[in-house]
């Protein structure tokens, strides 16, 4: 399999059922991928499998062509949502521990990153750092592995706006310098628009959308028209209706029919349209 991260027929079954099922995709090298989906869609399970921490029930995963099997691939770094760190260690001791646990490691890189981040004091205990500073430390440690593929599970969730900006800048600089492929899950769509160029939208463990964001947006149209007219040609993703007006998110619309207005969606309305469709299926 080609691509920085790819999988085929990938699935994971927990006791409560399938978290990920029949997933196949190939993420091109050097892309910054937005992994998006409703809560419980399987985002964290997918990232966990890509990181080699969760064993797939079926199917297979590859990183730059080499299979991922029961261990973290040497080219992958993973920021878990739980941010696993030693609370009683100082930041320095935590870095030392990470160095001991990794074959490929750069102290220089970690120090360089922490120097850029205002909120992380190297002498402080990890447990005394703010949630945001702990996230930043965990990202610095992930980058210390000099990864080719960086997996970030909700990297921005507990960051204030300044720390969020610092962190995005850091990750984007990493992409500019080293051509790292990044996969990040987030609920904050507004933040993803500026930094991601590839969309991987999953729902109920299945891939719904996979592609270059510009291309994906160009394939979709938001059509607004009278509620009582027949639906335009194309694939309907989701719709909201009032007594007199219908607003449709369509894929592969050939032409905008008379009496309808069509615009290209922005990322936020596209994702919202798919999430709304997902909720409809669940109810």
């Amino acid at each position: 399999m080609d691509g920085a991260l790819s999988c085929s027929g990938l699935g994971k079954k927990f006791r409560r059922g399938w978290a990920v099922r029949d997933c196949s995709f190939e993420l091109p090298e050097g892309k910054v991928v937005a992994l998006v989906g409703p809560n419980g869609a399987g985002k964290s399970t997918l990232l966990g499998m890509a990181a080699g921490l969760i064993r797939p029930t079926e199917g297979e995963l590859w990183v730059h062509g080499t299979p991922v099997r029961n261990r973290t691939h040497p080219d992958v770094a993973f920021l878990a949502q739980s941010r696993p760190l030693y609370r009683d260690f100082t930041v320095r001791e935590q870095i030392k521990a990470a160095r001991a646990m990794n074959d490929r490691w750069s102290d220089e890189r970690v120090t360089e990153i922490l120097d850029l981040l205002a909120g992380v004091d190297p002498k402080a205990k990890v447990g005394e750092l703010s949630a945001g500073a702990r996230s930043q430390l965990a990202i610095a440690l992930a980058l210390g592995r000099l990864p080719k593929v960086l997996l970030l599970d909700e990297p921005l969730s507990d960051l204030d706006p300044l720390a969020r900006d610092e962190t995005l800048r850091l990750v984007m600089t990493e992409v500019a310098d080293r051509g790292t492929t990044v996969v990040m899950s987030s609920h904050l769509l507004g933040d993803l628009r500026e930094v991601c160029d590839h969309l991987l939208l999953i729902d109920k463990g299945h891939v719904q959308v996979d592609g270059d964001i510009e291309d994906v947006l160009a394939e979709h149209r938001i059509l607004v028209g009278p509620a009582d007219s027949p639906e335009p040609e194309g694939t309907l993703v989701s719709a909201t209706r009032t007594e007199r007006q219908a607003t449709l998110l369509m894929r592969d619309t050939v032409s905008v029919p008379d009496g309808w207005a069509g615009t290209e969606p922005d990322l936020e309305s596209l994702v919202m349209g798919y999430l709304r469709a997902a909720r409809g299926r669940r109810d």
Binding site: V32, R169, M172, T173, A176, V195
Partner: protein, 134 residues
Amino acid sequence: MLPDVIEFRIDRRSGVSTYMQIIQQAKQAMRLGLLNPGDRLPTAREVVEATAVNPNTVLKAYRELEREGLVEARRGLGTFVTKSLASEAGSDESPLRQELSAWMSKAVQGGLGVEDVDAMYAVVRQEQFGVEES
């Protein structure tokens, strides 16, 4: 010392994609004579450090400018402007500009507001150049 390049301002609320904003601002700088043949565009890293956008988007915008024949990527050196968009006709002292200035002061004397002037300008521009793709 400040870097000897232009800086892009990315407006996240504008609804215009980062990619388009970079292309438009580069062209604008060329029209204004802030970028002339031989000048270097900021590297993707410089843009990222200043604005926290995706470096791939910056490079994609530069490729489009290159496709339009305005810039040239030189391996290991950066992306350089190859064409001039600054025209004498658009400079401050040009007759056209002075005529426009005289016309606009007449409009002000005639009691027209900014919106009236903009609307009139848009209509006349459309008559001359056709409908513009937004």
